[in-house]
Amino acid sequence: MELRLNGITKSYTKGKKHRNALEDFTLTMTEGVYGVLGPNGAGKSTLINIITGIISRDSGSIVFDDNGNHDYLSHLGFMPQGMDFYRNFTAKDYIKYIMTLKKYKTADDNAYALDILGKVNLREDADRKIGAYSGGMKQRLGIAQAIIGEPKVLIFDEPTAGLDAKERIRFRNVISSLAADKIVILATHIVTDIAYIAKTVVLMDKGKIIQYGTQEELCADAAGKVWECEADSSEVMDCMNRMRVSNAVSTGGKYTLRIISEDCPMDGAVKAEPSLEDVCIYRFGDM
């Protein structure tokens, strides 16, 4: 199975201002989780909206191939950014509603809806009104509606916004369990969402791919540019203002800083293994 994005370009014109939201975006994806990372305004949502057919592209093509099947839109599951629900629906009603929208028919819709909700641990709450759901439960319901009909391509746009740490971990686990035979595209600006589950990371900025590869490949690229050093509390703010600091951990009156720099940033700094967060700071500055 393969999803090829060839030279996708999209620009917006507002008055006299012209902005390229996507510029010659080319990427080939196979089964697995693809993390699309980039700061706000990088073009992630535009990319996703084009793949899902919500907005048109100026040029380029999208080609899907799954053993001769080329219609990816009918095999697409999608969870939009900032998704919300009808408060007076139960989760089961909602799943059945999306089944109707997708024209997905089963012998027993109720049983199928419960099965789908079971995959995201919502089976027990299937008959509760969505208005009574927590943010995390709603997010899982968002995943559930996306996986209706066993789609081959699953797309999630900023899926963990507003979730607490526990729900975020739960979300990652659900996505991992679903990803085996699917192309999963996860667009976010939260690095940890991707760090644990993405086989390939695509770094985007200003509508372009600035780097992509496995996490190891990306981290290898930043090798030698990540430093760790200790600083007094009085020096921390100064360091943060002058340098790219990816992390600052307080340890008994002192701070351990991770600094991204081509050269040794200060006396006593030692090289450290880069993480995906370091790579992002290296590539984008502050996200």
Partner: protein, 385 residues
Amino acid sequence: MKLFIYELKKNIFRVSLLVLTVILMAVNIYKAMEERRFFGETRAAAAMTDYFGGELNEEKFAELNEYRARMEQEANAIDGSEEIEYDYERYITGTAAGDASYAESDIKPKMEYAYLYRNTVLDYLALADENIAFYDGKNSYETSYAQLAKQLYSGRIIKSLGQYNTPRLYFDYEFSTLAVIILVIFVFSSAFSSERATGTDRIIISNKRSGSVFWAKHFTLYLFAAAAVILFSVSDIIVFAQKYGIGTLDQPLFAIQEYQFTPLNVTVLGVMLITLVLRILAVLFVGEVIMVVSTVTKNIGACIALSFGVVGALVLISEFIDPYLSPINLVNTRSMFKNLDCYDIFGTAVPCQLITLLIAVVLILALHVICYLRAVPKRLKEADK
């Protein structure tokens, strides 16, 4: 069909809507009772009409005169210093003086109007003939108007005296339609904005189902508008009929004196049904306006506020323009069908009511198309975050 059921579930089957409907229904019943108290006849007058109602002939007049004379006699025989005791078994209004008074001041004029209506019409038709002769070849509109009047008023006759309180009040009462419009704003101002607010529009577009959802929403509007207008109209009729009975429905509309020059040659029951249909049409017009408003922004609160603003503006505008140019005026049967008013369309007299209907239908269709173009994009213009 399934989408339509889900639209009903989304928009109609809500506790908040039920609560609002109950509140508006209670207010409407109270207002209808007030309308009945202020603009309906007294119970005594209605009872007298019921008593003398029926086919009109010389005997009926003689019977009325004889009854009035007898009641006057009985009333004069009563010693003025005695306390008046109401006797509803013997007298229709409870007293002889009451019966005599109502017979003279209420029933007699009603009978005379009905009995002499044929003459009124004949005078009017003679005037129409005069106008045709005078304007022929000089003013095509006036000629056309007189010809139309002749056509519409010929052969009119009122054969009986009837009880028209309930239909008359129903024709004049507008609050129930306003209540339905409030419900329509509450239900449909978020019809499309809620899809955008929840991000469901993206799922709908990516599944290429915008058209089906659009129609499902509109069928919901049609069903809701019709059901709500019927529900509130029935409640109005029940309130009015509680005091007067349903009344005489098989007589022509011009049997009600206020409508003596109505262009409609339809029975009172027919006009009640026409009123119902016109009110549904007026609500549909407002509903389509609200549907368009709901496509303007994804902010549901803003859509509700904007809907109230736009509908308020429409009502205000309809107060200042020619009443026949505003579909909002379809809710008032009296202003629509009291007289034969015509527009001069290229020298031909065209009844204003037809123009109002035409405007209403054209506006509803135009708003429907605008709503379709806004709510059913093949693609969105840009990523709306």
